[in-house]
Every structure is written in C-alpha cells, then in structure tokens.
Chain length 359, copies 2
DNA sequence: CTCCAAGACGCAAACGTTTGCGAAACGAGG
DNA sequence: CCTCGTTTCGCAAACGTTTGCGTCTTGGAG
C-alpha cells in the first residue's frame, strides 16, 4: 500500500465524514464506496468483482465481503460504457402471450437468472415492427447477446444481426451459422403420421398452420415434409384437397376442418401441425356430431396444456427445456466466446390419447 | 457559429477522413458522428434529440434528419450514466408462462413499445428469489420505472422499492400509495354469486386459490369477500365445509372439487376464484358423471381462453387492457412525474354460458 | 547485503451522454 | 454607433466502471 494511496483515501474520508456526514441514501452506492470501505482502489475492486487476475486471495475475499455488506451491485450502464458487459440478454419473440412462447421464455429466464443475467423482451410482431427493430439496432446498447425464440429470421434480418457483432442463438428456430436448440420436427411429424397409418388409416389429411405474417415458417415446412415422407414410405397418396392451410389458432383449425369435411371423399384421419389447430378441428367435429376416435382420428403436435384435458393425441416437445437449453447456449457463448455443441436437438415423444384410434 | 467551433470540426473531419477513411463499421455511431455530420456540437445534438429548449427549429429538424439517416440511436448506458434515462421499464411477474401474466405483459409491452421504452422482465418466483431481487436492487441501474403485475407486495418489499426512488405502478395489484389498474374483484365476485342465487341456488360453495407461496393474495381476499357479502345479502349461510382452498391451477381445482363432493350435504353450485380452478373442478365433475349445468352449476372468474371452449360461465376481466393501462400509467409517471387518475378500475362482465343453470 | 523477478496494487485515461455556464450572434432601442 | 436583452450554441465537467501501464512490495537467489 503506497503512502499516496493511503493519503488519497484519508482525504476522501475526511471530506465525506466532515462535509457530508451521511451520504444521500437515495442513489446506489458507487464502487468508490466499496473501495473506501475495503481500503483499496476502485480498480482493485473492479478486478476482484469480475474475477480478474492481479488481486491477492485475501483482498479478493475481503472485497467481496464488503461489497456484500453494502449490498453493492455494479452499474450496468457504467460497466457497459467502459467496455464491460450490460449483463442483459435480449429475447426476440413474435408474441409473448400464447403457450409456446411464454413457456420457452420462462425456461430461458430461469437459466439466465441463474447466471445473473437480466432479460430484455423484444416483440417482433408484424412486418414494420420487425423492420424497425433490425433497422434501429438500439439493442446493441442494451444487451450482450440475443436469443431468437420461435420465429424464422429472413436473410436480411440475419445480415443486420451479423453487423451488430453479438452472440445470437436460436430457440426452436435455426438462424444460419448460429447455435440453436429445437426438436426434430420432421421426425416428430413422420412419427405421428406413421402412428395413423399403423392404425390402418389411408386417407389422411394435414392441417398446416401459418404464422402471423400469413406464411409458413421453417417449422411448418419441416412438419409437412415429415408427413409427406411418412405417407410416401407407405405408398400413400396425399391429394391436394387433403392439404389445408389455416392461420394458426383455434379458429383457423375449425375452419380448415370444415373445409376438409366438405371434400368429395373426406379423410378418415387428420394430422394437425399444431395442437391449437387440432383443437379447433375437434370443435368442428364435435359440432358436426362426428365421433372423434371412431369416425375420425385427430393428432396434433406440441402437447399443449389443453391436449391432455381434451384427450388429444399429439407429439410432445419439451418447450420449457428448449428455453433452458437456449439459456445455456447464451451463457456459454458469453463466457467462452463459443459453444461446444452448437446444435442441440431435443427429443419428441408420441403421446397417444383418445382422439386417435384404428380405422 | 464560432470560428473555433468550425475549426474544431474541421480538424476532426480532417483526422477522420485522412487517417481513418472508413470508421470501423462494428461499433454503433456515437453522437459525435451525428454532430459532425450536422455541423454542430454534441451538446446541441443531445438537446435536439431530447426535445430540450435552446435549439432553433431549423437546427433541430436538420439534426433529426441526419440522425435518422445515420440510423443513430443513443447509448442507453451513456445516457443513464450522465443523468438521463435508460429508456427501459422493469416488469415484475411471479411467472411469465400462464395465461394471465403473459397476456398482461403483452399489453404492457405494446404500450411501452409505442413510447420507445424497452421491457426488462423480472421473475419473482419463490421467497428467496423475491428477497434477492429486493435486496440487491440491481434494477436501479437498469430501469427508469417498475410495473408490478399480478402479485401482492409485502410492506417490506414496498419499503425497499420506495428507497430506490423510482416510479412504481401496479397491474392487477395495489401497491400502497402507488398508481394502479385492476378490476373490481369484490363486485365481480358478488355479481357471479348473485347470478347463482338468482338461479335459485342456496347451497353454494367457493373454491379459493392460493399463490405460489401458498397464501391468499389480495385478489383472492377481495373475491372471497364479494362472495360472502352477496351471500349475506340473500341471508344465505356459508358453512365452513363450503370454503375450500387449493393451489392455483387445474389439479388444485380438481382436488378441491373432490373434497366438496365428499361433504355431508354437497353444494348445488360452486363459485371458483379463477377459471383454471373451475376447469379442474369441471374435470372432477365429468369424471364423477355429475352433469354440469343440471346436477351442479359452476362459475369461474377471468374468462380464460379455455372458458369459451369448455362453455364455462365466468366473470370476464380485460387482461390485455389492464396491461396497456399499466403501460399508460408508467408513461405518464415518466413524462410528467405524476399521473392524473392513479386508480383505474376497469369493468368486469358476467358471461353466462352452459355451466350455470337453474336449480 | 544486493539485485531481480514476479505479483499486487494504484493512477489515470477512456467510454458516450447530459447539462450548467458562458460566449457569440442578432435585433431593437437609445 | 453603442448598449442591452434574447436566443442559440459550444465548452467542459461530471456520471461509474474498466483496463493498460507504471510503481511499489515481497521473497528468494546470488
């Protein structure tokens, strides 16, 4: 400890104690207070808190103790400004209400919180909201990394993200060249389809769902491909009338099902790309007095909370865990600059309930 | 314009153009770049961007135009550090998955986004998570205001928030001395109860729901009081066996209903404090082959998405709009330092469906 | 005892913005 | 032409942290 160092501290303390006995309790205690209390310089406090080398064990422990006593927490703003981290991660969702996205975000939040990271929620709903987000790039000042949840980025959007030079991970989506976690939608859809063919069904329709933008996302394409491949395996044909697209949700499913029922030869089973759509279809079937499970089999995808209640057969995917895994990816990218297994595909599971039965 | 001012800018431009033709495209453009491009000082840019007086109309417009061309956005960190705003609002929720909270947050996000505010999500789930949040108070460095959504704060927690000196608003909760928005739970519950008594029911039970902490929140107390008052109005008694508490959710409701069915004299109608609980009760009734609407009437509270699907009578509350109104409160508090109508009670609406019928 | 290397720590310069204060410019009145 | 007031704008000092660099300390070898 240098003479000057001590002197400096003395002077500061004199000032503090003499002129301004009680520091205003309003503002957060700055790092300088911790330094004073611990009898070291702010630079040492900073190094101790960030786990940087150049601080002796004893000092480090003492500083951590003092910081804890003062319930000190670093100013994210100042830290970021000086070249450090903000300690926050941006999460991009097309919407936050709705089962899938809120569950995935909950899983993400869980992991991020374990690592002391805050979560900034960005909603990308509608074209101009997306455009504004990627154009302004205000997130660069606020977050250390981004997690994209359940929405497919356009090449343009990916390009703009790349310019920001932040780690980006995908949850239930695969941004090109980035780590991601999702499920094997193709295999899941194929499994559901095989389940129906194994029950003896041959005339099987598919209810496809579109995003808020009215297009099919990558997930939809995968599930459709899985369906088609499984049908082809068995040498079964899929007439054009058996492929119906509807906006995601109950209403869409209900209408799409009505359309199917008006076909020249209605199908005997239906695979819906999502449970919400399947449930809408169920409603139409109930209202048409068609006994589900006997007259018509239905299977969905997701294992939505409602599926169990309504006894809907489905392909379960671990949504909460996808969120958590996404959190892991972010944390690893932030800690090491890279992630070990950048492609984490979680398993799906066929859940057979009452709405699918033999023909 | 002073000679020195122009000279300063010239020198900077020379440097930039000569030595470093293309500024590194990675980092965000600082305010100085906008100042240079507009031919003014950074202080003027700052004032123009924040709408402060002391800038001529012409300059202000030109600066805004230039800033837009450069797609400039201020650094939240630097702004905050220098005494400005972070442009972010913290949202406190007990959980983010689940219909009520995610819908309210969606409404909040909508309004905040309209006013250029970002949303930082804090989850307060479990006692120690709450304690840690209020003890560290890390949010002070990150957000300009807080919105508490759907959870009751303890007096201690309110005290710690007060020390942080931030605007705080409540959504579906009433932090003492703070602006809030919610619905009249007492009146809503009383209305539901009167609906049942008007149908001729006299033996009416109530399914109360507890929070994640196992306690009854303020909302639960209000709804219970509304139920009791409406019963008292008609001179009807509420035996102890007709008041059952269960953890919030399907399972809790299912178990609580089972308990009621094992009473010496089962009730003829049930008011559930929330739709989730009511739906759990419906499941038990269906499994017991008790015809809902004839043998037993059920009414819930919330108008959950499922209520319509399951034909559940209920008291509808505007969740999304509560979120939006909460956003309004935050924006007004931030803009004016105070809000005009700090208590915004939105209307509930009795929705009669198939599960409630005469006795 | 002297010298040297390595480890521990302090100093000070950034980072990008906000804002009080002072100076310049301009117009009007004397 | 001088003075004064008003408006517009630049200067520079914060804000709290990080980090390169320099200095001091410590302990061991020569």
């Amino acid at each position: 400890m240098t003479i000057w160092g001590n002197l400096g501290k003395r002077l500061r303390n004199c000032y503090r104690e003499g002129v301004n006995e009680h520091p205003p309790p309003g503002g957060p205690a700055p790092m300088a207070d911790v330094a004073d209390a611990a009898g070291v310089a702010v630079s040492t406090v900073s190094r101790a808190l960030r786990g940087r080398p150049g601080v002796s064990r004893a000092q480090r422990e003492q500083i951590l103790r003092v910081a804890d006593e003062l319930s000190y927490s670093v100013s994210a703003s100042a830290s970021r400004l000086a070249g450090g981290r903000t300690g926050a991660v941006g999460v991009l969702v097309p919407r936050i209400d709705g089962w899938f996205h809120s569950t995935a975000v909950a899983g993400l939040q869980e992991r991020l919180h374990e690592h002391g990271l805050d979560l900034v929620l960005y909603r990308l709903q509608g074209r101009e909201e997306r455009a504004e987000f990627f154009d302004r790039r205000a997130f660069r000042h606020r977050v250390d990394a981004l997690a994209v949840v359940g929405t497919t980025l356009t090449p343009d959007e990916e390009g703009l993200l790349a310019a920001a030079d932040l780690p980006v991970v995908g949850v239930s989506t695969r941004p090109s060249g980035r780590p991601f976690t999702d499920v094997d939608d193709h295999a899941g859809a194929a499994g559901a389809t095989r389940h129906l063919t194994n029950l003896g069904h041959e005339r099987i329709a598919i209810l496809r769902s579109t995003t808020l933008l009215g297009t099919h996302g990558a997930v939809s394409h995968e599930r459709y491909a899985g369906f088609c491949d499984a049908m082809a395996e068995r040498g079964l044909e899929v007439p054009e009338a058996y492929v119906v697209s509807a906006p995601w949700g109950l209403e869409g499913g209900a209408q799409a099902m009505a359309e199917l029922l008006s076909a020249a030869t209605p199908p005997t089973a239906v695979f819906a790309e999502s449970d919400e759509v399947a449930i809408g279809a169920l409603r139409t079937l109930r209202r048409s007095n068609i006994e589900v499970g006997r007259g018509m089999s239905v299977i969905g995808f997701d294992d939505h909370q409602l599926a169990e209640l309504l006894d809907l057969s489905t392909v379960a995917q671990p949504v909460h865990e996808q969120g958590r895994t996404g959190g892991d990816l972010v944390v690893e990218a932030l800690d090491n600059g890279r992630v070990a297994e950048p492609e984490r595909v979680l398993p799906t599971r066929l859940v057979v309930r009452g709405t699918s039965a033999g023909h």
